[in-house]
């Protein structure tokens, strides 16, 4: 399948945006007191979120996890409100209550980011159930890590989703590590996608550093889901360039392994593909880069200039 030019450029944009957004975060969180809490980045794995979400429609919903930036940006999150939330500012998408770990943007179909590993799938089942119940055209996509597939909730959710043929796609972003545990230290199977058979669900393995492959695979799964044929488990093989979080010195990740995967950069790969197909001029590419840079800088400025919430605002929003 040939991916239309617009889609290719859209994906390139979001790959670059995610990358730059996170590079900025890497720098910012080195500055004492600037960014509270943990800083968990998807640098190197952006093609999974970008390719997946690029295949979705506005009515589709994503349920994401602690490594959410590429997912959310591609779904249409305003970098400003994301950045402000990450800063803990009142103008953040959640008024400073969630921070970077639970960014929630129901307005763009990203209502739930849970940092409880494995919690996404049951919630995604509920979200997809609502779509089926009301006969809505949308579907739900749930992102989990490789480690998350060890949680019982993953299993319960896949079983139920398959049983009820819910319009949901489970995307396993296999970056080879769950915390400091390598995949072979948390499970004996090689392909997480093989678990799908245990639920009579299709399981697909895809190159998670190739946004185009992810995109076309996602389109197929989306079509199945929307047609009432039920869920799909897509495993995207990728790699976490950085530590689990920014405070992780990565002592357990072999240097050569990191280097090998850096050579497979998903952003460069897309850029090269776009260039090779002549979809963008060198000039336009520059302009795109500049646009991305502006977005990131504006986001930072917005976050910097925004006020913190007043302490007593902590008491709001518990009950409706």
């Amino acid at each position: 399948m040939t991916i239309p030019k617009d889609k290719m450029l859209e994906m390139l944009h979001f790959l670059m945006l995610s990358r730059r957004f996170e590079e900025a975060l890497t720098d910012l969180c080195r500055i004492e007191g600037k960014i509270p809490g943990m800083m968990i980045l998807c640098t190197g794995q952006e093609a999974v979120g970008v390719g997946m979400v690029a295949a979705l429609r506005p009515e589709d919903v994503i349920i994401t996890n602690h490594r959410s930036h590429a997912h959310l940006l591609t779904k249409g999150a305003d970098p400003k409100v994301l950045m402000a939330e990450i800063y803990g500012k009142r103008t953040g998408c959640n008024k400073g209550k969630s921070g970077t770990l639970h960014l929630a943007l129901p307005e763009i179909g990203a209502p739930c980011t849970s940092t409880v590993v494995g919690a996404g799938p049951p919630i995604a089942v509920g979200r997809a159930f609502a779509q089926q119940y009301r006969n809505e055209p949308g579907i739900t996509v749930c992102f989990v890590g490789d480690g998350a597939t060890g949680e019982g909730s993953f299993h319960e959710a896949l079983n139920l989703a398959s049983l009820w043929r819910l319009p949901v796609i489970f995307v396993c972003e296999n970056n080879r590590y769950a915390g400091a545990q390598r995949q072979e230290e948390h499970t004996r199977i090689e392909n997480i996608a093989d678990r799908a058979a245990g639920y009579r669900m299709p399981g697909v393995v895809v190159d998670g550093n190739d946004a185009m492959s992810v995109y076309t695979t996602a389109l197929d799964a989306r079509a199945r889901a929307a047609a009432g044929e039920g869920p799909t488990l897509i495993e995207c093989k990728t790699y976490r360039w950085r530590g689990h979080g920014e405070s992780d010195p990565q002592l357990y990740q072999p240097k050569e392994e990191i280097a090998a995967w850096r050579a497979l950069c998903p952003v460069a790969r897309m850029r090269d593909a776009v260039r090779a197909r002549g979809l963008i001029s060198a000039e336009d590419l520059k302009a795109m880069e500049a646009r991305v840079e502006t977005l990131v800088q504006e986001a930072i400025r917005f976050a910097e200039e925004s006020p913190y919430p007043e302490p007593h605002e902590a008491l709001e929003d518990v009950y409706a």
């Binding site: 739930c112 509920g126 609502a130 319960e156 929003d317």
Partner: protein
């Protein structure tokens, strides 16, 4: 007024709300096709009435059941899900405590989670501690949840209807022994507001604060003591969160004496919260020490004499009351 058992009253509440609002659906293990053939049970007949779209039997997967509720509620449906026995609240607790209760807050108030988790509770049927373990105090210690535990058929109906209409996650504990206890239940639109305790028996001498099945024990003790000229006020909390502090304080200010009665085990039970509220805000009115009458700090045993020993009874309550008069 028609007499219904609590199980029938709950059934009526479900039926009425499902009829009123197509977004209400039920899910759980055996809420449709059941191993029971008993019209007294809350979900009896609903599959027949509403069909498999609205009444969903699930696999034995409590986390998925609760997660289903969380996700569907965010989407604007009104899930009413069932946890078959209270100890299995543990298995659903991540979804309820870390998600249903917190996701609204984490969204900065953008999302709501109008779901009800019905939990079948209570001891008394000889099944032991993996089926009987009242954990309402756990739910009450979790901001973001509302917690209801009714004692009468009418309250059960009125509160379940309110719970289903509430925009917040509600944990609704149902004592299984009460399913078979009859009482007058108003027909049709009968709503009991969440967060209002109810003076079930006005009295002068001592306040007994209780909820759920222990209300019957309180009445029994009160009747016995009435014969001796001791006038017991019984306050049925009905809702643990939000707690009707005003009602507790008003009663204690009147009587000056407080006994808290619950079936759950003592240490860390919700009686402590009631005690603390009174000690903070009605200290000067107190004429005597607090007494707690509760299950002892043991798992619920299976054998009949042991289980009877576990469950607080009127005799213990009478003794406790006498001790502070």
């Amino acid at each position: 007024m028609p007499q219904l058992t609590m199980g029938q009253a709950l059934n009526q509440a479900l039926k009425e709300e499902m009829t009123r609002d197509d977004t209400v659906f039920l899910a759980g293990e055996g809420v449709g096709v059941s191993i029971h053939d008993n019209p007294m049970l809350p979900t009896a007949g609903l599959l027949k009435d509403f069909g498999p779209r609205r009444v969903r039997d699930t696999p034995v997967s409590e986390a998925a059941i609760a997660g289903l509720a969380v996700g569907a509620a965010e989407a604007g449906l009104k899930p009413v899900v069932e946890i078959m026995f209270n100890p299995f609240f543990t298995l659903a607790s991540d979804m309820i405590v870390n998600h249903a209760a917190k996701l609204r807050y984490l969204s900065g108030g953008k999302s709501t989670f109008p779901l009800v988790v019905r939990i079948k509770s209570g001891a008394g049927f000889g099944a032991g501690c993996q089926h009987s373990h009242n954990l309402e105090a756990w739910a009450a210690h979790c901001p973001g949840l509302k917690v209801i535990m009714p004692a009468t058929a009418a309250d059960a109906k009125g509160l379940l209807k309110s719970a289903i209409r509430d925009p917040n996650p509600v944990v609704f504990f149902e004592d299984m022994m009460l399913y078979f206890a009859p009482g007058p239940v108003p027909e049709g639109e009968h709503l009991v507001p969440i967060g209002q305790a109810d003076v079930k028996r006005p009295g002068r001498d001592v306040t007994v604060v209780t909820w759920s099945r222990m209300l019957g024990v309180a009445f029994k003790a009160a009747e016995q003591l009435a014969g001796e000229g001791i006038d017991v006020e019984i306050l049925d909390l009905r809702t643990l969160v939000p707690l009707d502090r005003a009602a507790i304080l008003a009663s204690v200010r009147k009587t000056g004496r407080l006994v808290v009665l619950h079936e759950a085990t003592r240490t860390g039970g919700f009686a402590g919260e009631v005690a603390a509220v009174v000690m903070e805000q009605a200290f000067e009115s107190l004429k005597a020490p607090l007494r707690r009458v509760t299950g002892p700090d043991i798992p619920v045993p299976a054998s009949p004499p042991l289980e009877r020993f576990y469950i607080p009874d009127a005799e213990q309550l009478v003794k406790a009351i006498r001790g502070i008069l």
